[in-house]
Symmetry: C2
Subunit: 329 residues, 2 copies
DNA sequence: ATGAAAGCGCTAACAT
DNA sequence: ATGTTAGCGCTTTCAT
């Protein structure tokens, strides 16, 4: 069982330096005979080079990582695809780490990733915001995606959309359609929530009152949407519009509404956020605010890799959202 | 900017061996003073150890990988959670690699992972079956999950459910409910498809004919379900039951059916497979065959890690499925 | 055209 | 209680 380059070299009757050169294509000065001999042995022995050793020597791995908070939310896989496609163009592989919205796992992931395991990291932090200052002050380049950092941590790249504005637009649409008893259901914490701020701004602008009681906060998942509606409906039986922090929440909310015999959109209108691929398959098809997830991935990867390869500065990039009207409004 | 252990050692006035001991908790013989001094410096300098170097020396990384074919299918994230939870108990981190049902990416992933990047791999192969013999003959332990390998490749672990039997049961249920014009929509290739075989077996057992024309094969995604129904309906306007290779397909199929004005389950009954968390949120709630995805992840991780840690043999483990009747049948 | 040698940053056995 | 040392498997410069 052959394992190392040294073994290959011994079998081929040459030095490991020569083997290395052949395997890396730096073989302009290697005779055809030697090259073939080496390649043959490599092939036969099923040798694969130890990338750990290689990484140690070269100080890079050609791998980038995407650290995300919830792999079960279809929004993130869409970003993954964008990152993957772009990475591949540059010969980078992608690994993804799920933190399950758990700060400890987030720290762990960063610990092993930033210790030279990968050349760069794309990151969406969990909703349990905690100080990550220390963790982000590593020496691998990082680009933040989706959920922004308020305190402009230095040296981070960011690609994002204007969430607040998107929610103003979404809420306004519901208002235009005649809703007067709007509720807001989302994940995260109320006071540091862009989405909530957009909701309030729109309400205020329309001369309506936005009170905290018309709000339910949980996770960014279907259960939150479901129990959110159940709770809210108990307090406000005449809800006629709901705006959700993401599509998963909207899907859960629709189910709860339908279970209560409420018709969408006749009795209550509902709008989501993200535009995951399943939204159009709902009944009724969900109206939502489209985030260009795939493009976010592409842009993030491109920025990161340009930094890794050519030291180009990491910057802030804003992408555009789009209101998609389907049948739930 | 401090970077290496040597730097820490210099600052602390000791050797890097001492630093290493402290950082690894092998410090029974280190004086409290030295320990504290070192820890302080590590803290202040933001030092993180180079896990590449460590991995090279120790010949392990305490990382396992899950290589999966489609990160956008919610079935896999559920497995991820099982793997994660179990891995964590043993101090292993998990990275996931998406192959997008693409053989080239599959090979690439294995190439860098098996070259000592990770201590073990959990793997669901893509539907483009190709010979992976060479790739699976690496020296890192592998456990296959979900989609089985026919040719019992030696030395691989497997955790699976009896798909064929599950589809017999599902199909039979539809038959019992009175369906006589069943169609089958799935991903992959017809002749090497367990799911299809289960479908046929049930039909034959009931004295019905299973013909290839009542079948549509594509990917394991919603689009396949949608266009599958559109195509099939063109040929067989009187379809009264559809059995799907997974829930995503079923969701797409439901939409197509509903768009045609067909009522579920009155006009046509439909059954899925996997029981992804969204299925119960569909309208009507999707009846499906539950795969214990989380447990599959747990079992796979446990088997893999036991092998890594104690050399326990990789084996075959069969888990149980369960027919879940909701409102689509 | 090929090889010798140094060293990437860390660990662990073996001194002291 | 701490340090010395010898690598882990690879790449790369510099000789030859």
């Amino acid at each position: 069982m052959v394992v190392t380059m040294k073994d290959i070299a011994r079998l081929a009757g040459c030095s490991s330096a020569t083997v290395s050169k052949v395997l890396n294509g730096a073989d302009q000065h290697i005779s055809q005979a030697t090259r073939e001999r080496i390649l043959k042995i490599v092939e036969d022995s099923g040798y694969v080079r130890n990338s750990i050793a290689r990484g140690l020597k070269k100080k890079n791995t050609n791998i980038i990582a995407f650290v995300l908070p919830d792999i079960a939310n279809p929004f993130f896989p869409e970003i993954v695809k964008g990152i993957e496609d772009e990475s591949r163009r540059f010969g980078f592989a992608l690994i993804v780490c799920n933190t399950d919205n758990n700060t400890t796992m987030e720290r762990n992931a960063f610990k092993f990733l930033s210790s030279k395991m990968v050349d760069g990291i794309i990151f969406t932090h969990s909703i349990q915001s905690s100080d990550l200052e220390d963790i982000l002050t590593t020496h691998v380049p990082i680009v933040i995606v989706d959920r922004l950092f308020k305190n402009e941590t230095k040296g981070l790249g960011q690609v994002y959309i204007d969430t607040r504005e998107a929610f103003i637009e979404g809420t306004t649409k519901l208002l235009e359609k005649g809703c007067r008893n709007l509720v807001f259901i989302s994940g995260g914490v109320l006071h540091e929530n862009d989405r909530y701020q957009g909701f309030c701004t729109a309400l205020t602008k329309a001369g309506l009152d936005s009170c905290k009681e018309m709000t339910y906060m949980g996770q960014y998942d279907v259960e939150t949407g479901y129990v959110g509606i159940e709770n809210l409906l108990r307090l406000y039986p005449d809800i006629d519009g709901v705006i959700c922090g993401n599509d998963l929440i909207a899907i859960g909310a629709m189910k709860a509404l339908q279970n209560r015999g409420l018709r969408i959109p006749q009795d209550v209108k509902i709008i989501g956020f993200d535009d995951i691929y399943l939204s159009q398959y709902m009944l009724p098809a969900l109206s939502t605010i489209h985030q260009p997830a795939y493009e976010i991935g592409v842009h993030a990867a491109r920025m990161l890799i340009h930094n890794i390869l050519h030291g180009e500065a990491l910057k802030q990039e804003k992408l555009e959202y789009q209101l998609i009207m389907r049948d739930s409004v």
